[in-house]
């Protein structure tokens, strides 16, 4: 499986980019010990004009590079944690709905539809606005708007797997429903869930950036979306303030998408477009 993943060039590039981003985020305090908020030079310093400030400074004289590296932490953390929370809601709900069917299914699916009928982003804004923008509230808001597709996916997968004969065999072995679900059915639905999760991290990063852009980010945490949002009034005079964070978002999301696709090909060899023969 690892070999199949490695044979996909895009996926390998994605992993490399992501590793670099993670590395930068982890070493943020070493690289920029003064933090992203410190004013270190005159405002509007053009990139590549002064040593030590390769990406220039913003409207208040803060180092853009420091902002980017520290922002990476927030983006990755929010992306990862909100995805885990979304999985924690979506997987059990979808599994129960798909496995037991009947009223459990009806109830779970109507509940899911309730969330799906409200536009994602609008719901996230409302939640953050009500809860006060902190990292926790942003993360939970993103998780709350992104679990429904997980529940749907898991439900469909479980419904397909539970008709396999080995599930009948487990039933004949006298296993309880719970053990059949957790021991026989769910492990066989893992691959599409992993693929979806990798893509969800990317969407979560985008959502977080969009919220911060609108000024709904955590005021105590530097993030890419906040940087772009703060720079939008001066976009004509200081292009680099919104350009570099934008590139950072683009590259990270692209990397995650490449990984997701690589995982998809590696975990579902039958669907891969290249003939394996």
């Amino acid at each position: 499986m690892i070999r199949r993943f490695a044979s996909n060039k895009g996926a390998v590039i994605g992993v490399l980019i992501l590793l670099i981003v993670i590395g930068l985020a982890l070493s943020a305090d070493l690289l920029f010990p003064r933090g992203p908020w410190a004013m270190v030079q005159r405002p509007f310093l053009v990139p590549f004009t002064m040593d030590g400030f390769p990406l220039g400074t913003d409207t208040l004289g803060r180092d853009v590079a420091a902002g980017l590296v520290h922002g990476a932490r927030v983006s990755l953390l929010v992306g990862l944690v909100s995805t885990i929370v979304a999985l924690a809601i979506g997987v059990p709900l979808g599994a129960v709905a798909g496995f037991y069917g009947g009223w459990a299914d009806e109830g779970a699916m109507r509940f899911t539809e309730f969330f799906q009928t409200i536009p994602n982003f609008a719901l996230a804004i409302v939640l953050v606005a009500i809860l006060e923008p902190t990292l926790t509230s942003i993360t939970s808001a993103i998780a709350i708007v992104s679990w429904p597709p997980v529940a749907r996916l898991v439900r469909a997968e479980v419904m397909a797997v539970k008709r396999r004969e080995y599930v009948d065999a487990a039933r004949l072995a006298g296993l309880s429903n719970f053990r059949i679900l957790t021991g026989e059915v769910l492990p066989n639905t893992v691959s599409p869930i992993i693929v979806m999760a990798s893509l969800m991290v990317a969407t979560a990063i985008l959502l977080e950036s969009s919220l911060s852009f609108l000024g709904l980010g955590d005021p105590n945490a530097m993030s890419w979306g906040y940087m772009i949002g703060a720079a939008r009034t001066v976009i004509r005079s200081a292009w680099w303030l919104s350009f570099f964070p934008g590139v950072a978002i683009l590259v990270t999301v692209l990397a995650l998408n490449l990984i997701g696709e690589g995982l998809n090909d590696a975990l579902n060899p039958h669907l891969s477009r290249k003939g394996t023969a």
Binding site: E165, D168, A169, L172, A173, G174, G183, P187, A277
Partner: protein, 541 residues
């Protein structure tokens, strides 16, 4: 007779990393006008690859690397794709195993047939339709005008295969390649399709290359036979030569492995019943709503029967006869609407979920599909011990028993730590049997347990079951669509049709003196029945 196709030293290379370098190595054959050549072999023998190579339908990575296939003076294999496309359909036609997937589900049958003409730019629209109608009539589809307007899903399996044949015949091909065209069909339907192919062959004088794994079918229709093993033609000759006097050991093994209908001796059995089914009913309702009547299918309709200790009861019927539903009701994967399933005095049909879980071990099942019946993520040991452990057996005991069972089914104790994908279909079926035995059941329900296997593997698994029956005194409800298989193993046979039990009796009575018309039809439809009967009389002489 004019030769239609002559294949000379054809070799097909497999990509690197496959289990052998060549799918087909140096095959030669000739098909004359009006002749049926049967290509026989087990799965993986390269028989379908040969046909696909002729049609230019080889999967990516597989290439022809030697030999010629001369059709009408030119080598088909070296023709450019455009030339080959002209040949395909118009002069060489092909029919497939699964007619549902080979027909376009969104097009009416009439349109699909006329499209063949349209694709080759022949005739006007009205002429095309007229010809399509006459083809539909020719292949014996009932009510041709109505069939023309029907969609594929509205036809039965046999009717779809007839529609496929009509499409294949549209341009009056000189060669028809039939790749296991009857494998997915019931015996009675299979017999009709074979008759149709024989009839068309004489009327149109086409050459037919008929690919099959079933020597019964060969006995029924073949003029010439070529037997393939692992890409090599091990034997060829006229049908009579190969069937009566096989030279190569592989052919002999295949022929021996076919259930010939040689009947086992009746055995004495103790009268105590292991299973008693009384008045069992199961009705499936589909569709329906406020304004529409629900469609009812009586899958099992008032069936009563019993199985004695140590007895093997064969449950035979065509698809849709309710035999699988009956089997699943006995193990209670399906809860019946009415009736009793008495196993050792307890009525399984009436138990609650909790009580049922404790009594699960009494009846176990061996499933049809050896690839779907084992969890791909669990080691064999876990598959064999999950049940006993859930029944409260200590884990070390269960593991020791599992290893012992693996020995009994002929796999060896050391296989316990492997994953299912490391085993072949036949081996997986042995694991399935071991899993059923691990629960120490009173009765095993085998639902088409050997149907998905090659004949030689099938014979081995049947041997195993026979051996277990005598060694462990096993009682088995053996569900199958294949009367020949049932005859090999069973003490008694029950015939089902449309949910009802038509006839039940000792194997000898059912085979030699069937009382019901339906049983007689089934017996007559078994491919190679006459040939097998001949063998039987010779066997007795």
């Amino acid at each position: 007779m004019r030769t239609v196709l002559s294949i000379e030293e054809l070799s097909i290379a497999l990509p690197k990393g496959a289990d052998r370098p060549h799918a087909v190595a140096g095959i030669s054959m000739k098909i004359a006008e009006g002749e049926i050549l049967c290509v026989v072999g087990e799965s993986g023998s390269g028989k379908s690859m040969t046909a696909n190579a002729l049609m230019g339908l080889l999967p990516p990575g597989v290439t022809v690397d030697g030999g010629r296939a001369v059709f009408d003076g030119q080598d088909v294999l070296s023709l450019p794709e455009t030339e080959r496309q002209k040949l395909r359909g118009s002069r060489i036609a092909m029919i497939f195993q699964e007619p549902m997937t080979a027909l376009n589900p969104l097009m009416r049958i009439g349109e699909q047939i006329s499209e063949v003409f349209a694709a080759h730019g022949m005739y006007t629209q009205t002429e095309r339709e007229k010809r399509a109608l006459s083809l539909v009539t020719e292949v014996g589809l009932p009510d041709p005008a109505k069939i023309m307007r029907a969609y594929p899903f509205q036809l039965s399996g046999g009717q779809r295969q007839r529609a496929m044949i009509a499409m294949a015949l549209a341009l009056e091909p000189e060669l028809l390649i039939a790749d296991e065209p009857t494998t997915a069909l019931d015996v009675t339907t299979q017999a009709q399709i074979l008759d149709l192919i024989l009839d068309l062959r004489t009327r149109r004088g086409m050459g037919v290359m008929f690919i099959t794994h079933d020597f019964g079918v060969v006995a029924e229709i073949a003029d010439k036979v070529i037997v393939m093993e692992k890409g090599i033609a091990v034997e060829q000759g006229t049908a009579a030569e190969v069937l009566e006097n096989p030279q190569h050991p592989y052919t002999r093994r295949l022929l021996d492995a076919i259930p010939t209908g040689r009947l086992p001796e009746a055995r004495a059995l103790e009268p105590a019943p292991v299973l008693e089914i009384k008045g069992l009913r199961k009705v499936y309702r589909t569709g329906g709503g406020l304004f529409r009547e629900a469609r009812e299918v009586r899958a099992v309709d008032d069936v009563s029967l019993s199985i004695r200790r140590g007895e093997v009861l064969g449950l035979v019927g065509e698809s849709g006869s309710g035999k699988s539903t009956l089997g699943r009701t006995v193990v209670r994967l399906v809860t019946p609407d009415a009736g009793q399933v008495l196993v050792g005095g307890t009525d399984l049909a009436a138990l609650s979920e909790e009580e049922l879980r404790r009594s699960r071990n009494k009846v176990q099942m061996v499933f049809q599909d050896p690839y779907a019946s084992l969890n791909p993520r669990h080691r064999i040991l876990r598959a064999l011990t999950a049940g006993p452990v859930a029944m409260g057996k200590p884990k070390p005991d269960a593991e020791a028993k599992a290893r012992e069972l693996l020995e009994i089914v002929g796999l060896g104790a050391e296989t316990a730590d492997r994953f299912p994908h490391e085993f072949s279909g036949g081996q997986r079926q042995r694991i399935g049997i071991a899993r059923a035995l691990a629960m120490e059941p009173e009765l095993i329900v085998a639902d088409e347990a050997v149907s998905a296997l090659d004949v030689s593997i099938q014979a081995q698994v049947l041997d195993l079951l026979r051996d277990l029956r005598s060694r462990l005194g096993l009682s088995i409800l053996f569900i199958t669509h294949d009367l020949r298989v049932a005859a090999q193993l069973c003490d008694r046979i029950a015939v089902m049709q449309k949910g009802r039990l038509v006839e039940i009796g000792a194997v000898h009575d059912i085979f030699l003196a069937p009382r019901e018309g339906y049983t007689r039809d089934l017996l007559a439809a078994v491919p190679g029945a006459d040939w097998a009967a001949e063998n039987r009389t010779r066997g007795f002489a």
